[in-house]
């Protein structure tokens, strides 16, 4: 019961958790490509992958090959990146603000990112994906700063932070609606509103090359700071006395979550509850230590959002339900469970 119970060499947990974890992710990605309005046989998917990755030269119907490689695969990869990014953002925010209910959606960061992205799109301030992402980042940063300042002015408690998040979300959602009403034509407006609810339909390879590096960076930064995140367990003063440069860690990690959230929102709209429910579910499996919680949440978030995307494509035949609706249908009950669980612990 003594030394042996400690996580021994790095390899054991890696084999125990890493292998099944990556297997689950691989299966989810395959499922994301195979399942859809027109189910495509697994063999064909394998052939297309082989053609692209190994130049195998299998003969595949070009339309099907296009659906697999240019449509479903990038969409699935972006779903995975978004799920991982949002889950990581949730873990980091919960540790740093010491609040079980912290997540980019509840704290208004997603709403701020939406406002920034919509402002850039409609008002035509610099175009392209990078322009929209930058707008989203500025909006997200403003929203977080505003919500944090309001929570602090209101006394800095847990409840104050969540209430400030609600106020911030409402304000930024209202600003978004205002921009749409002021400047968008009817068709633009419908497109934007559909995108705001979370939508992966338009995703192509260039989006993958934005989403994956951002999430990979975020993941590495989180891993680098796992001990600092653990040190926040007893509050910021205790973290400081354990040798953490509290201000620097907060700026780096909050900046990183804001960047991840902004990127995800600019790509696929605002998707709620992933950052809240996934980290809590993972805590039951891994315990509160961030060395395991971070990779577990990233993996689970990726798998969860792929599953949500697949569900959104097939739940109503012939129609795509916004993915934010699917995550909310699963996430809201999860949120309720977290609330009840926290009460029993307090």
């Amino acid at each position: 019961m003594r030394a042996a119970a400690r996580p021994g060499p790095l390899m054991r947990p890696l084999v125990l958790w890493g292998v099944p974890g990556f297997a689950a992710l691989a299966v989810a990605i395959l499922a994301g490509v195979v399942i859809g309005e027109t189910p495509l046989p697994f063999g064909m998917v394998a052939a297309v992958f082989a053609n692209h990755l190994l130049e195998a030269g299998h003969v595949v119907d070009p339309i099907d090959a296009g659906i697999i490689w240019n449509y479903r695969l990038p969409r699935t990869l972006v779903a995975a990146a978004c799920g991982a990014g949002l889950a990581l953002s949730g873990v980091v925010l919960q540790a740093i603000v010491r609040n079980a209910l912290a997540d980019p959606y509840l704290l208004g960061v997603s709403a701020g990112a939406s406002t920034g992205a919509v402002a850039v799109t409609i008002l035509g301030l610099g175009g392209g994906m990078i322009g929209i992402s930058t707008g989203a980042f500025v909006g997200a940063t403003l929203a977080f700063a505003l919500v944090a300042a309001l929570a602090r002015a209101a006394g800095g408690g847990s409840a104050q932070l969540v209430l400030a998040g609600i106020a911030g979300s409402q304000l930024f959602n209202a600003l978004t609606s205002f921009f749409i009403a002021k400047s968008a034509n009817a068709e633009q407006a419908r497109g934007i509103i559909y995108w705001l609810l979370g939508n992966l339909s338009g995703v192509r390879w260039p989006d993958v090359s934005l989403a994956l590096p951002v999430v990979a960076c975020g993941f590495v930064i989180c891993l680098w700071f796992v001990r600092a995140l653990d040190a926040f367990t007893f509050g910021t003063s205790s973290a400081a006395s354990l040798g953490i440069s509290v201000r620097r860690v907060q700026v780096v990690l909050i900046g990183m979550t804001t960047l991840m959230t902004a990127t995800m929102v600019s790509l696929v709209g605002s998707i709620g509850f992933v950052g809240l429910v996934i980290p809590h579910a993972m805590r039951f499996l891994t315990g509160p230590g961030h060395a395991r919680l971070i990779p577990a949440s990233a993996l689970a978030g990726a798998v969860f959002l792929i599953a949500a995307d697949v569900t959104s494509r097939i739940i109503i035949p012939g129609q795509v339900v916004p993915i934010g609706v699917v995550t909310a249908l699963v996430g809201a009950p999860g949120f309720a469970l977290i609330l009840i669980h926290n009460r029993s612990r307090a």
Partner: protein
């Protein structure tokens, strides 16, 4: 490790909470802080550990100003146990003690076998080795306090700062803790309320309304006059016939 403080002060709004405290604490010394509630003991301890924003005055460790050291270097020298520590995370006692290793670890020097040994030894020093796997939320107040002290020991500091460490402890563990502290080869600064226990320190500082109004060997500092004016008690000095040690019996003075 020698700690010298010069002109320490801290202001909250326009109110001076601690003001003009200068003191030199020698390496290996056990220095006690006593004083009524709200007299500034906890604030002074935080100032000494470099944990308060906008401090006044200078703290030096072996001649090095605290402000010139990075946080991590400070944490390798000073461990601090706060008056209270709370979390809602589902940690086990051992995980809490392992936090003490934080300043010694990095992404490139992860938690290893040596750290496992240090954590186990620290738990043993406070008599908590049997509860290493207990969840924090299931520990009693005194057990939590002992786990936090073990965490501070795991930090392997050269200066240990303890804010009312005997709080919540039963009498056996109070005495065991004070004995442990007096045997540690490190400098200790601690706030205490029990004046009889404070008599065991090498020197005492008496705090009143944010100022250190007296500093010296316990028997010289805790005079009947001070006990009456600062602590508002009348004290009778008794002698233990066993070993001749003197102790106080207190009587409350009317307001």
């Amino acid at each position: 490790m020698k700690l010298s403080a010069a002109g320490l002060g801290w202001q909250a709004g326009h109110r001076m909470i601690v003001e003009g405290v200068s003191v030199e604490i020698a390496a290996g010394e056990t220095f006690g802080l006593v004083g009524p509630n709200g007299s500034g003991k906890s604030t002074l301890l935080r100032l000494m550990a470099g944990l308060l924003p906008r401090p006044q005055g200078v703290v030096q460790l072996d001649g090095t100003p605290l402000t010139s050291l990075p946080r991590r270097e400070i944490a390798r020298r000073i461990a601090f146990v706060e008056q209270q520590a709370e979390t809602t995370e589902a940690l086990r006692a051992r995980d809490v003690v392992a936090l003490g290793r934080t300043p010694w670890l990095s992404a490139l020097a992860p938690f290893g076998a040596a750290d496992v040994g240090i954590v186990a030894a620290s738990l043993r020093q406070v008599g908590m080795e049997d509860m290493a796997l207990r969840a924090w939320s299931t520990l009693s107040g005194g057990e939590r306090q002992r786990v936090q002290i073990a965490r501070a020991l795991a930090q392997q500091p050269r200066l240990l700062v303890l804010d009312e460490p005997t709080n919540h402890l039963d009498i056996h563990h109070q005495l065991a803790l004070l004995r442990l502290i007096s045997r540690l080869p490190v400098t200790v600064v601690l706030a205490l309320h029990d004046l009889n226990q404070a008599m065991g320190c090498d020197r005492l500082g008496v705090m009143e309304a944010g100022r250190m109004v007296a500093c010296g060997p316990p028997a010289r500092v805790l005079t009947p006059d001070r006990l009456m004016n600062i602590f508002r008690v009348r004290a009778t000095r008794l002698k233990d016939p066993d070993d001749g040690a003197s102790l106080f019996r207190f009587h409350c003075l009317e307001d």
